[in-house]
Structures are given as C-alpha cells and as structure tokens.
Symmetry: T
Subunit: 69 residues, 12 copies
C-alpha cells in the first residue's frame, strides 16, 4: 500500500431520500468511468427546499481512487 498514488475527484450527489443515498448516487455515477475507488470524504451537506420541505439532499464528496501503474 505504501507506494500507491491516489487521485481525488470532487462530486456532488443528490437524493430525495437521505444523505447516505446522495453519496451512493454520486459513487454509482462515478463508477461508470473510474475504477479502483477506495474512500470518500463528505465536505458539504446542502439541499433544496420545495413547499417548506427538503426536496432533495445535495452532498459534496471527495473520492480517492488508485492510479494504476
């Protein structure tokens, strides 16, 4: 593990359900083009409001993935 190099992407996922689902949605979309995702860090939790209720959650995540040699 000591000689791995990682790259971090910054994504915003959204979900009408929960903070956790917003993160999962971001990862699911990123996984279509990025392999070897290893960890994530939540950096912002926000959301949009409709009619006085949370309409959807918007969660910013940084995702670290291994750069292959």
């Amino acid at each position: 593990m000591s000689n791995h190099i990682y790259k971090k992407l910054e994504l915003v996922g959204s979900s009408a359900e929960s903070i956790e689902a917003a993160v999962q949605n971001a990862l699911a979309r990123a996984g279509k083009t990025v392999r070897n995702m290893r960890w994530f860090e939540v950096t912002e939790t926000r959301g949009h409001i409709e009619n006085g209720k949370v309409d959807h959650w918007q969660v910013t995540v940084k995702v670290g993935f291994t750069l292959e040699d």
Copy 2:
C-alpha cells in the same frame, strides 16, 4: 433568477430519529413564518447523549429564502 435577493436564517433542529429528521423539523418550524425557502446548508451536526446512547440529534442549518419585492 439573476435579480433575486436572498436572506439566510440560522436554525438548530432536533430529532430523536436521524440527522435528516432534525433538518426537516427545523424547516417545518421555520415554514410557519417564512415563505419562499429555497435551500439549506448543514453547518454543524451535534447531539445529546443519555445512558450512553444518542438521545437526540441537533443539526444547525442555514436556510436561504427569497426576499420578495
């Protein structure tokens, strides 16, 4: 949208259930007197402990709403 002016309120919602419910509770209370709420930003997640368990979640949110002309 470009000539809207927004005001931000800072609220603390609480819930025995979840972080999401604490946010929803804050919005429900604010909606009694504030119209046109558009978005929120979670700025702190805290909580109280009773008997070694989370008794309730306390979530600080900033809420943006449109100031009408």
Copy 3:
C-alpha cells in the same frame, strides 16, 4: 450545571448502515469505560468504498463527558 468540568474524547465509529449508526457504535464502545457522556459533535464524515459502493461509513465524533469531583 455551572460548575461542571467536561473532558472531550475524539473517536471514530464505523458502520455499514448509516452515519447515525456509526456514531451510535462509537458511543456504545466508549460507554464501556466512560461514564457520564453528555454530548457529541460530528467533526468528519468519511468512508471506504468496495466495488463502487460504500462499504462502511467512518464518522469522527468528539464526545463530552462530566469529570466527577
């Protein structure tokens, strides 16, 4: 309450389920040796990814507890 002194511990809890469960797991473990826990503050939300999905959530919490005289 005005003459209590508190100490803060910093813990990382984890859970495959949710952010809330990761916090509860940290408190459950801390409660084995610490009495009089009063509040917590979430300072970081991260997690590990396996096969493009969240494998487990890792949540850093500071826990305040009363130092007894």
Copy 4:
C-alpha cells in the same frame, strides 16, 4: 460608538454585471426594511453559468446595523 450594539444579517445578492453590483443589490433590498446599516463583510462569491459564461454573480454578505435604544 463604544456603547452601540449591532445585529448582523446574512444576505445573498445577485447581479449579471459584477461582484460589486451584487453587493449593492443586496444592500438596496435590505435597506427597504433595515435602517442604520453600517458595514458589510463578503463571505462567499459564487455564480451561475449559462452557455459557458457567467450568467449572474451571487455574493453572500453579512451586514451589520445599529440596534437603536
């Protein structure tokens, strides 16, 4: 000046023109209901993009005004 008490409002102004105009627009709207505004602090500069260009600037300002006795 030493015994004044101030309150701070947090506003988001917008403008298609410039950062300065977005601040001025926020102040103009706030001035309809708030007297004695004294100073402001810019805390965020953001904006929306249309067709690859800045459509409008959105600037968050905290505005301090004197609370009269």
Copy 5:
C-alpha cells in the same frame, strides 16, 4: 428538550470594560425583543484603539433562542 427548535442571531456587543461586559451588553439589548435566549457562542473578539489604548471591546456573539410552538 429533544423537540425544541432554536434560531440563532448574530450580534456585536461593545464595552469599554471587558470582553465579558461586551457580551452582557449584547444580550441585554437583544433581550428587549427576544425571549427564551438559551446559549451564546463568541465568534470574534475585536476592538477600537484611541491614544494607544483599548477604547472599547467589540465582541461578536451568536445567540440561540427557543422558537415557541
């Protein structure tokens, strides 16, 4: 306590005497119109200088109060 909702105000109090008095002055003024203030957080400590000495302290506080149902 678990279903209370709080609102936070941001105030700047001042005093020629001390940081503590500047906070007390802010609370005294806010208490004329706000009931149920519960806690405060000092976010900035500043001041003005005259003739090489502190003329007055200016302390920014966020004040949390209960929103009644």
Copy 6:
C-alpha cells in the same frame, strides 16, 4: 434536478482587467472541453505585481457541471 450528479473542477483564471474577467477567462477555456457547466465558487483571489501595480489577477474557481447519464 434531484437526480443530477455533478463533478467539480478546480481552475485558475487570470486577467489584467478584473476579478470578473479572470473568472470569465477560466470558464471560456474550460468550456472548450466541458459541457453543461452550471455554477462556480471563487475560492482564492490573488495576483502578480509588476512595478508596484497589479499586473494580472489570478482567481481560483471551482466549477460544477452535470455528469450526463
């Protein structure tokens, strides 16, 4: 809007004219390869000095754009 996923890029634009022009220049260059840019956030404002004057402004922006399905 609730099921969009966004990616954020971090760019530094520069301009001899103004902060606003430095942001526009960064967006103009990014728009050559990125579609669907939605918003930006200014995170740093710096610049270089020649002969005691601002030679050019350097503004760091994070740009959010929609990841298409």
Copy 7:
C-alpha cells in the same frame, strides 16, 4: 526541551464569573490527575443564558502536558 513529548487534553471549564475563571477551573480539575501541565490554548468560548443574562461561561481549552520517560 528539544526531546520532550507532550500530550494534549481537551477540556471544557465553566464559571459564573469570567472567561479566565472558566479556564482556571478546568485546569484545577485536570491537575488532580495530570502532572506537568505546560500550556493551554482556548479553542471555543460559549456560555448559557438565564433570564437574559450570562449564567455561566463555558470555555474549551486544549492543555499540553509533558509525558515523562
């Protein structure tokens, strides 16, 4: 001094009197079990309000002490 190793504790002291007394109270309690305390850093100043006045100050301090060989 160059080969000392220090550990930091995080404490919250409280006092009805002043910020300084809240720090002293935290140190007095910590000194019952910790020897060789060397320095402290104030990281948060908060407090509780009763009847519109500061009831007690709550000050978070990090305390550094020498780990003996």
Copy 8:
C-alpha cells in the same frame, strides 16, 4: 528563483469604486517604501455603508516582496 526569500505584509486598502481599486490603492501606498513587490493574496473583502449604499470597499491583502541579499 529558488533561493529567494520573501516577506509578507498585511495591508488594508480602500476605494469608493471597486474591489480592484482598493487593492491597487493599497499597493500604491506600500510601493512608496517597499521595493520588489511580487504578488498579493486577498484575504478579506469588507466595506462601509452610508445611506444604504456602499460608501467604500475595504480589502485586506497580503503582499509578498523579495528580501534582497
């Protein structure tokens, strides 16, 4: 360039016109006594309000200049 040593000054410039002019004014004044200024970083943007409008902008800049051997 690799063996240059720089010193940073912290200045506050003001202007009735714009953020950019406030920076230029700070640099113009600093240039009377400091040579070899190389870059600046804007760290705060504030201003004073008169009659509900921005009276002047106040911009804090750190200025880096080369220390000559």
Copy 9:
C-alpha cells in the same frame, strides 16, 4: 475615511492578570514605535501553566494602523 490605507501588525502580548491586560500590554509596547493605531483583532488566546495554574496569558492580536501620506 474612504481613502485611508492601513497596515496590520501581528503581536503577542502577555499578562499574569487577564486576557484584556495581555492585549493592553501588547498595544502599550507597540505604541512606542507605531502611531495612529485604530483597531485590533484577537486571533489566538493561549497561556502558560505553572503548578497547575495559569501563570500568564498570551494573546495574539492583529493591530491596524493608518499609513500616513
């Protein structure tokens, strides 16, 4: 006031008495060589401990003063 330029100094004052006295001591010393000091901002509050008690407070302040033409 709109065309003043200010410079900021960063000082650390100390006092066995209080946070306020530590600030006053820093200003008193600075005033020997700097004229036209206008405001200060407290950026750090620390201190040294002897025999389990605060021996002296150390307060970092930024001091703004007018640069004369």
Copy 10:
C-alpha cells in the same frame, strides 16, 4: 503569464522515506499523463503506522498545470 489558465489536480502520494519523497512520487506518477505542471500546494500530511512506527507517509497535494490553447 497573464493570460494562462491553469487546472488543479488533487493527488495523494506516499513514501516510506519522507514527506518530500511522497510529494515527488505523486508528481512522478501524474507526469505520465499531465504536461506543463507548474506548482503544487501541500494540503494534508498523514501516514500509516505499523508496529509503532511510521510505515509510510501520505501527502495530499494540489498540482497546478497550464491548459494549453
């Protein structure tokens, strides 16, 4: 230099040797696909521990490179 546009990548390099080597390793890997790298900023320094010793250093760097026209 005034009309260059830069993009920033965020990387994590690792090394069993030193912080400097971890940065160099990140740059060496990035240089396989990115040309015109100009500067870097260290944003985090962490590491893994085996048997009570640093096993490898993990350093997060943001790398700025010129976007060519």
Copy 11:
C-alpha cells in the same frame, strides 16, 4: 474493518533533526502505553529558534488506534 472503533490521541513530538523525526519520536513515546496505533495526521508544524537557527521542530499529530473489544 467496518466494525472497528478508533480513538484519537493528540501528541506533540519534537526533534532537532527533522519534521519526520519529530513524528517518529511522538509515536515511539506513545507506543509505550498504546497498542494498535493505525494512522496519524499532522495538524501543526512549529519549532523553537536558538541563535537564529531552528533548535528543534515541534509537530502536533493526531494518532488513531483501534479500541479492542
């Protein structure tokens, strides 16, 4: 790994040699009483000066270790 709970300690290590050695010294001392240390995060790098040179480096690290069941 998903059901581990970690605790974080905050330490200050010092060394006349290098930043890396200061971290290693902190870990070596902590390892006398703490088992299962897993990772560290550098949060501050400081040092003392004697005769115009670095006398020793002081590095603050947070160390995470597994709490055993």
Copy 12:
C-alpha cells in the same frame, strides 16, 4: 517570561532540498536584521515544478521574536 511582548513576521523561504531547509533559509535571512527570534509556525507548504519534478520548496513561516524594552 510573563511580561514579554512578541512580534510576528511572515516569511516565505525556499530551498531545492527540503521543507526543513526552506525554513532554515528564511530564518537565516531574517536573522540579518531581526534579533531575539524565539519560535516559528509553518502555515503553508508549496513549491514549483520543473520537468515534472519539484524544483524548489516554498514554505511560509510566521516567526515570533521578542520586542525589547
């Protein structure tokens, strides 16, 4: 030590060798005109890249020195 007043300078040192050498170079240059330097704090670690490698490290340090009476 309790009645010392310190001033802080902000410097950027550089070195092709290491972070530590960049700090030492900044101190060596500052020591030509400043006496009684006591401590430093590293606030930024950056550097320039040539041909895909670190060309030189640039380290920002705040240096505290005693103001003599």
